[in-house]
Subunit: 164 residues, 2 copies
DNA sequence: TATTGTTATACTCTATAACTATA
DNA sequence: TATAGTTATAGAGTATAACAATA
C-alpha cells in the first residue's frame, strides 16, 4: 500500500531515498540538528518582522541597548559574542532609524554610550511581541516544559565553551 | 564580599553589567539561545577537524554521499536543505580531495551520480569519529538523556517548518 | 602601553537568475 | 516544458589587522 504522503514524497524524491526517517549519522550529531533547526527559526524570525525588518543580530543589539542604556559598544559586542568591528554597521543602522543615539561619555571620551530613543524603546517592544508570537506559533508543537528544557540545555551548551 | 570570579568578570566588564545572570528578553527567545549555542558547537567542529579540515556543510554532504552512493546532486541538495547551485563548489572540493567522483548516469545523462571513493569512505569514518568525540567532550555536562532530548526537540522544530 | 571606536579587507555561506544539455 | 548541473553575481554575517583618539 502506498499512502498519499508517500506518493508526494516520491515525486519530490525520485531516487526513493527515505528522507522522512533516519538519514545517516548526521541525525545523531547535535551540531547538524542544531544548524537545521536554527535555519527554520531564523526564517521564521525574518518573516515575523517582514520585508524591511531588522536582522537577528540588530534586534539583539537593540534589545541589550534598551535593557542597558548607556552601554558602550565594546561591552555590547562582548555580550553579543561578536567583534567590536562588526558592531559598527549594526549600530549605524539603528542610529539611522532613530532607535538609539551615540553619546560621548564625559568621563571617558573614547567611549560612545548607546542611548535608546523613545521611538527605539517603543519599536523594540512591538518587535519583541511580534517575534515572541511567531516563535510561540512555530513551536506550538512543543509543550512549555519542553521549551524551557530546550532553552536550559542551549544555555548549558553556551556555558560549556569557556570550560573546554 | 567579592569572589575571584567576580573580580575577573568585572575586569572584562567595566560597566559592571551582570553578564552571568539574566541579560534581557533575549534569554527567553529560543532563536537567540540556539544561535549562541550553535556558534559554540560550530567552533568546536572546526577545532576538531583542524586547520585544513572540511566545513560542516561539506562534511554533511560527504556523509550523505557515503550513506547513499549514487545519489544525485539535486537530491543531495534537497536533503541538505540548500540550493543546487550552492552544492556545486562543495562537490568540487570533495572531488578534488578524491573523496568522491561524479559519474554520468547511463539512464539519464543529465544526472551526475555521486560515488564515494574508498579513500572518501575511510576519511569520512575517521572524521566522524573525531567530530563525535569532540562533541561528546563539549557536551560532557549533559546527560545522555538530556542529549537525546535535545536532538529530539531540534528535529521536532525542523519538522514544524512545513506545517507553518 | 592599553582600550575605544572605526575602516579596510576578506572569507564563508547562501540565495536568485540565467544558461546548457538533456528529458 | 521541465529538470540537472552549472555559472555569475550579490548579500548577509563575521573575522583580522591596522589606525587615530584617548586613557
Amino acid at each position: 500500500m502506498t499512502t498519499r504522503a508517500q506518493l508526494k514524497a516520491n515525486k519530490a524524491n525520485p531516487d526513493n531515498l527515505d528522507i522522512n526517517t533516519t538519514v545517516s549519522d548526521l541525525e545523531n550529531l547535535v551540531g547538524y540538528n542544531m544548524k537545521r533547526a536554527y535555519v527554520v527559526i531564523h526564517k521564521d524570525f525574518r518573516e515575523a518582522l517582514g520585508e524591511n525588518g531588522i536582522s537577528p543580530p540588530t534586534f539583539s543589539a537593540l534589545s541589550l541597548v534598551v535593557t542597558y542604556p548607556q552601554i558602550s559598544q565594546s561591552n555590547l559586542a562582548r555580550m553579543l559574542g561578536i567583534e567590536r568591528s562588526g558592531l559598527v554597521s549594526i549600530i549605524d543602522g539603528l542610529e539611522q532609524q532613530d532607535y538609539l543615539a551615540r553619546v560621548h561619555s564625559p568621563s571617558d571620551r573614547r567611549v560612545q554610550a548607546l542611548v535608546p530613543t523613545a521611538e527605539g524603546v517603543k519599536a523594540y517592544h512591538a518587535m519583541l511581541a511580534t517575534v515572541q508570537a511567531h516563535e510561540d506559533k512555530l513551536l506550538a508543537g512543543l509543550s512549555s516544559s519542553e521549551k524551557s528544557t530546550l532553552v536550559k540545555l542551549l544555555i548549558k551548551i553556551r556555558a560549556a565553551e569557556s570550560q573546554a
